[in-house]
Symmetry: C2
Subunit: 200 residues, 2 copies
DNA sequence: CGAATAAACGAACGTTCGTGCTTTTTTGTA
DNA sequence: TACAAAAAAGCACGAACGTTCGTTTATTCG
């Protein structure tokens, strides 16, 4: 009766693998239908599991949403941050970050586009822990852009970071809606132009 | 028994007023919760109506969504397009359109931000008539930007239109998430800079 | 091997969803 | 003022939602 385990362990057991499998699928579903449209029943049926089996890993839908946000942040770190770290601080790092991001977006035909574009639009008017988690991830990204812009000698790093962010997100938005790949070219050229304006 | 009217009339009767009232509220709700999160029950209770009373005006949820998109397009026309028409074609018109849009976004503290930003992110992976309606509205907006950019003598009007779009939408996105009004200044300055690069 | 615990299952709950059918109230007009 | 049409309400439905519960199957470990 004592020490009742309500949720699977999050460490080495079999549960950790299942949890990772669930979150990988949750990430794809949420990129398409949003974190609110993500349902435990759908998730379970796509995984060949029972609703309660999936549910037990998180204890509530909100915890599932928060775990999905964390998984998205980790995937973003691997797909975008990590590759860009090989470039030196400053303008070259900025170029590498933007390029990795755009490549990631352009290559993601299969899944539902940028997780952060979808979920930030979904939660920008929905207070609560999920919104805060998304906002923190975006602030971290913008903050890193700003930090690198400062190292690159930008006159107004905050402004510089905003412009990079806007162009990348704009390309994702337009590509998703129109299917026109030309927007990635527009975005890359705009970024190059801005980078070229930095002090040498 | 013959000629049964399933939906209220869309013309001069009282039904037209009610329909407009419903759509006005639907627009606000959809700006916050999206067109999928918009529910007939919630709409009815906020309006002090019955679910079936609201439902009868549209016949299906999808029709309600399509009518809401149309209402959003009309509001956008009044708030952004119309005021900008007083400026002459070309660069001045572009400046007026962007300014009206940014003012509209910055002044919309009460409601849920840009309807088009919210719904395009929501439907970019959801095929169907609603997506097509949203895409058509966005294409019309981008097309008008491009047309004016061409009249202003831009070397690549499509690229020019994309950059304006990205900066305005980026400002909306960042403001909604961070609450930082400085992004509107960033956006206005970026637009002025691009307009200044046009041939005189 | 056997006991303990982790993991997944299946059924049910109360609620809300969109939608259909019927009835009542309101509106416009002859 | 009477009456037909329009508008709104009432009621019910099947499905899906998140969640809880008790039970069963897998896994781990002494």
């Amino acid at each position: 009766m004592s020490n009742v385990t309500l949720e699977p362990r999050r460490d080495g057991g079999k549960g950790a693998d299942t949890r990772a499998t669930i979150l990988a699928r949750a990430l794809d579903l949420a990129s398409v239908d949003g974190l609110e449209g993500l349902t435990i029943g759908r998730l379970a049926s796509e995984l060949g599991m029972s609703k309660s089996g999936v549910f037990a890993h998180f204890g509530s839908k909100q915890e599932l949403q928060l775990a999905t946000v964390a998984a998205a942040a980790e995937r973003f770190r691997i797909a975008v941050i990590e590759p860009a770290l090989r470039a030196p601080d400053g303008a070259l790092r900025l170029r590498a970050m933007a390029a990795a991001y755009l490549d990631h977006l352009e290559g993601n035909d299969y899944s539902g586009g940028c997780f952060w574009a979808a979920t930030s639009a979904e939660y920008d008017d929905r207070p609560g822990p999920v919104r805060e988690a998304i906002a923190a991830a975006l602030d971290a990204w913008l903050g890193e852009l700003e930090r690198q812009a400062r190292l690159a000698g930008a006159a107004d790093p905050g402004r510089f970071a905003f412009e990079l962010y806007a162009v990348v997100m704009g390309a994702n938005s337009r590509f998703r809606m129109s299917g026109d790949r030309a927007v990635f070219g527009y975005a890359r050229e705009a970024i190059e132009r801005r980078l070229g304006e930095l002090p040498t």
